[in-house]
């Protein structure tokens, strides 16, 4: 006991601070920056992806490759004619873009890993305009790539060949907000951060928060079933999205834009479109159930000697923090080394093999502080944690979060990075990192693990001085087979897009994939919506 407290001097001090703070509420209402691994990049993104940010990322080291490199041959869609352009200009005067310079940023994905060759960007403002465009394109057999903030990580949001880019950027109006129920209805092109700001003024928050919030669109979030930081607390978009309005491939408008928490009248069609990556319809509006803004937020940064102790900490934390727990994230010592080396971020506690970021969000600062204090005392008494520090000020809260958020940025300085985003049973999360390290031996420069423990979501990153075909061959399919071996998901939150579509069978049985194909054929018989994405090439 005494030994623990001697070792964990910072934590002892922090506990005293927390005890003191329990009688205050100075940080009530504090809002945190997101903890998405891609946070620091995406939130800096304006319209053109940063070259620096893409450097060294998987497939992006030498600039974006043409998308077809990763796709099957161009399907027999029509090509855009002057008559087509005349039609688009009539429907969207001044919002039919053909200038190659203006199209550049929409043709390249955020990671700068692939490049399409679209020559037309359409910017509708209304559902009716989207309907007219799709009806026309369907009749003309013209392929469409719907694009929100273009912040996706699997090349799902850019054209592969010459698909027409349909941007939701000008569909950015809040349609209604009910301050009693907390239900927001808005167009698909609203930027997530703008919605968050809109709601904060009304004492609510969005149920999701992502590093890309400054750029991503809510329609894109819903279309890709975005996860992010708040999933542990508020659940997935399948639970918080109450309704969607969708334009189908043939231009029909499907109005499922209900604002009801309960509605058991027939099949709940909206779920088909949540996570379908724009392949089944174009989401034009959504309604979302929003939680009340927490009055109190706390963050602690802890060190654990083993991953087993980290899991014990998680269990204890769920029991003792209960309803106020809003994040439980981890990073390993390799991540800390990269933060130290490349970003000069120092470790605020003593060196440990594993680190944890815990966030609480609640309605009473005193109660939250007491719960956190009791949990930390118990965790120390039980020897689950070796050291730790508690954030009691806004700046320190942000500093602690940055340890988790900036790992991806640190990785970009390490060389070429092979990135994986997998879901695993919580108790197997780190075994994958250990096994991969052993499997690769000296072939990899480093193998690092971090992610959302609370959601069973590991971000596995493997670095190399440069692109290395032999290394890739050693990683894949090993990583997918390992994931499949424990019934995990080979894409936890990033989706399949162009890059991972053919790996779907590692996580879904063929019966399920075949049924997905049937649904695609039913809703988009000509296959004009976001072709070459999500579904595998060998689908029949």
């Amino acid at each position: 006991m005494a030994g623990i407290f001697q070792r964990a001097s910072k934590l002892r001090t922090a506990l005293r601070c927390l005890s003191l703070r329990c009688s205050l509420s100075s940080t009530a209402g504090t809002r945190l920056s997101p903890a998405d691994p891609y946070g620091p990049f995406l939130s800096c993104l304006s319209s053109v992806p940063s070259v620096v940010s893409a450097r060294g990322l998987h497939a992006g080291a030498d600039g974006p490759e043409p998308s077809p490199a990763a796709a099957p041959e161009r399907r027999s869609f029509s090509r855009v004619t002057p008559e087509d352009l005349a039609f688009f200009r009539k429907v969207l005067p001044g919002r039919t873009i053909t200038d190659p310079d203006l199209l550049e940023s929409s043709n390249v994905d955020w990671l700068r890993s692939v490049r399409g060759s679209s020559e037309v960007l359409l910017r509708p403002q209304t559902t009716e305009e989207v309907s007219q465009i799709l009806s026309y394109c369907n009749s003309r057999n013209l392929a469409i790539n719907t694009q929100g903030g273009n912040t996706g990580l699997v090349s799902g949001s850019v054209p592969v060949y010459d698909e027409i880019i349909l941007s939701t950027a000008l569909m950015n109006n809040v349609l209604s907000f009910d301050s009693i129920s907390g239900i927001l209805t808005c167009q698909a092109g609203c930027v997530l951060e703008n919605l968050s700001l809109y709601l904060e003024d009304r004492d609510y928050i969005m149920p999701l928060d992502l590093g890309s919030k400054g750029s991503c669109h809510i329609g894109g979030n819903v279309a890709t079933n975005a996860g992010g930081l708040r999933l542990l607390r508020y659940g997935s978009l399948h639970g918080t999205v109450l309704g969607v309005e969708v334009v189908l491939a043939d231009g029909r408008v499907l109005d499922c834009l209900t604002t009801l928490r309960k509605d058991n009248t027939g099949y709940d069609l909206k779920h088909l479109f949540i996570g379908s990556e724009g392949t089944l319809g174009v989401i034009t509006a959504v309604s979302v159930l929003c939680p009340r803004k927490p009055k109190s937020v706390n963050v602690v940064f802890l060190g654990c000697e083993t991953f087993e102790q980290l899991l014990q900490t998680f269990q204890l934390c769920r029991g003792m923090l209960g309803e106020i727990l809003s994040a439980f994230e981890f990073l390993d010592s390799e991540c800390m080394r990269l933060l130290n080396t490349h970003l000069k971020i120092s470790n605020p506690i003593s060196d440990c093999p594993f680190y944890v970021v815990i966030e609480t969000s609640g309605s009473d600062a005193t109660h939250d502080g007491e719960k956190l204090h009791n949990f930390l005392e118990e965790a120390m008494t039980s020897s689950f944690i070796a050291d730790g520090t508690v954030a009691t000020e806004d700046s320190k809260i942000k500093a602690l979060w940055s340890l988790r958020e900036r790992v991806t940025e640190a990785l970009t300085h390490e060389g070429y990075t092979y990135k994986y985003d997998v879901s695993l049973p919580v108790d197997r999360i780190y075994q994958m990192v250990t096994d991969m390290r052993e499997h690769l031996g000296d072939r990899a420069k480093s193998v690092v693990g971090y992610g959302h423990v609370g959601d069973g979501n590991l971000h596995l990153n493997i670095t190399s001085p440069a692109k290395d075909a032999a290394l890739l061959a050693a990683i894949e399919p090993f990583v997918y087979e390992w994931t499949a071996g424990c019934q995990g998901s080979i894409s936890a939150e990033h989706g399949l897009g162009l890059k991972k579509r053919n790996y779907i069978y590692y996580s879904k049985p063929s019966q399920a994939v075949a049924l997905m194909g049937n649904i695609k054929a039913m809703l988009d018989p000509k296959g004009i919506l976001n072709p070459y994405k999500t579904l595998p090439d060998n689908l029949q």
Copy 2:
């Protein structure tokens, strides 16, 4: 101020008790009985529905009518032959039931309102057996009615004609439970209450609780997207069900029985089956994300002078109770009159036009008590509540809940009852009751409203001395048009089943219903699964 406290003497006393209790935790771990309006009946149900409980309910006054009375003509399914029975007996030795006495309870719905004429009841134990049965029935064009606990309220769980009844009753094994993640995987026929008891031993709870928990099956809950008491806190089954295993109409097994919180690999097919009422496939197993068991539960019963004040109380409560609020239910003074008159239950506070039951569930009894105390003081100071009482003991908690739970039972003594279950924008909930009262004038004996304010879910009940065609004509379609007029749902949590299938257009646009028909045709081209249910007769 002083006036309020003088009037609310019971509440003042209660607040003192609560303050005292804040230093204790005597009721930690208290579990509450459910607040579903049908609670007292369904939880008494063993296998045969109680005649008493059904007396006076809509369409049940004179005993169950043949189901076809409400259905279109029998479709051209095959009839069961001796060869079919021989096949079933080979697959299910000793579990192919043809004794009419044993079939009786499975042919009649719980409300005793309709009666099918099935002559075969099949009781499989495994998914493989279900697969063999469906494959055979599909090839033979034999219709199937899948039945869980047969506790539904829209006659969705009983045959209409001679459909074969496929019972999940013997598929009642827990398959796995992960004590770190709280993820339960079990067969579809597990009784909800048994799962709750299993989990309580492991410090978890099911994310749903229903009055029918003693009889209903988890597979039926998922197939009907059951709502219930905990929805306000833990959300709908679309959020908490992580995976399902489904046998399709042709016998193929669709394995979506994932136990992952995050999985973005293709379309999330499980949602098609949640709430599809057995018309798209037979759910054979589910995996569910279970919340930790709350350490502290409190209940208060309050009176409000106006519905506007009740809504203000709800708003205040959401802000001040925040993350510990687990139920916000209401009943009107007519409900209280029925409780007094028929069940001799006395009002524990002074007479008010509206009453509220608020439940909190949290991880710290002291904190929860303090939050509740502060909320009640503020609500009184703001004159939102006129009187109230706080439950500090288990017996009193149950007594307060019974005021909400036993309204349905009280209604059965009032004569013939026309029952409606609608979702509305929260601020319109009671306007429907007021408008209906005005609309019906002296034609109705009483018009009462109660339900789940937190979910925007009203249970509207209209009583009459006896069945009254003129009264029914005055109620319908008025009630559906009123609901549609504010974009509500004509079935919030009960589903459509046989009884409400043709009213679907009041809540869903024709495009959506047509798409539902396409999905049905894709998954069950012969229409053998639960025919005459959910989808309207005029669907093509």
